[in-house]
């Protein structure tokens, strides 16, 4: 609970960006109140190694986003509009709730592919054309995410 309150307090300082004592005191009080109200829910346990791996994954995701954005812009600006939308079902081998969330979010974040439905570790993805759906089916992204979560306890 103390960690949660401190995280909230840091966020408060970031948002208010003023160091008058009345603001800081108010922020401290309210962070403790909110942390206390939430103390019955999920415990706030920082996992530094996991977060480090996720942060290292972001640049690669970014490269993918730029690549498919350019692909998508080309599709839109082409006078013939050569799109071929399709729904594909992807059954992933991920064993964690958080991993599936990260996978679905990454798919949605790259333009041209959107996660339409999730059931356990099966995702229905809507893709703009064959190239993009091949990209999802090539399991490149999935294996990277599996790599991030390889040391965690499976919970799915």
């Amino acid at each position: 609970m103390f960690l949660k309150a401190m995280a909230l307090f840091l966020f408060w300082i970031l948002l208010s960006a003023s160091f008058e004592w009345i603001h800081l005191l108010l922020g401290l009080v309210f962070s403790f109140v909110v942390a206390w109200l939430n103390s019955g829910h999920s415990p706030f346990v920082p996992k530094f190694r996991l977060w480090l791996r996720i942060i290292l994954y972001i640049p690669w995701l970014f490269y993918k986003i730029i690549e498919s954005s350019i692909h998508m812009s080309r599709l839109i600006l082409d006078p013939a509009l050569p799109i071929n939308p399709q729904l594909i079902t992807v059954e992933s081998k991920l064993r964690h709730h958080a991993a599936v969330v990260l996978f679905g979010n990454s798919i949605t974040l790259t333009p041209g592919t959107i996660t339409a439905e999730v059931y356990r570790n099966t995702l229905i993805v809507h893709a703009m054309d064959k190239d993009l759906s091949k990209d999802i089916e090539s399991k490149q992204m999935e294996s990277r995410i599996a790599e991030i979560f390889k040391d965690e306890k499976p919970d799915l």
Partner: protein, 99 residues
């Protein structure tokens, strides 16, 4: 620094315009939402980075970074919710006729 920020903002504008054209040209909800996600992932990102560079280091830059992080967390959620709602209400995705 100023020139760099202008380059970022203009590139961001390019992607925003492409996304707007896409929303008009594409045939159905599903493909249109792809065009919208183009706005979020590159258009808004490049615009915000351009503005952050224009502001220089300081608390405003930090705030823009927070906005950026929130944008990248929230946008996929919104896009996914829209598409899932469309799919669950029985809308059929547009298909190419000859495939």
């Amino acid at each position: 620094m100023e020139i760099l920020s202008i380059i970022f903002i203009v590139t961001g504008l390019f992607f925003l315009i492409v996304a707007a054209i896409g929303v008009i040209r594409l045939p159905d909800v599903f493909s249109r939402s792809h065009a919208v996600s183009l706005t979020d992932s590159l258009g808004a990102f490049l615009m915000l980075v351009g503005i952050a560079l224009h502001e220089g280091f300081g608390k405003n830059m930090l705030k823009i970074m927070v906005v950026l992080a929130l944008l990248y967390i929230l946008n996929p959620v919104i896009a996914h919710a829209t598409i899932r709602a469309a799919l669950r209400s029985g809308l059929k995705p547009w298909k190419k006729e000859n495939s």
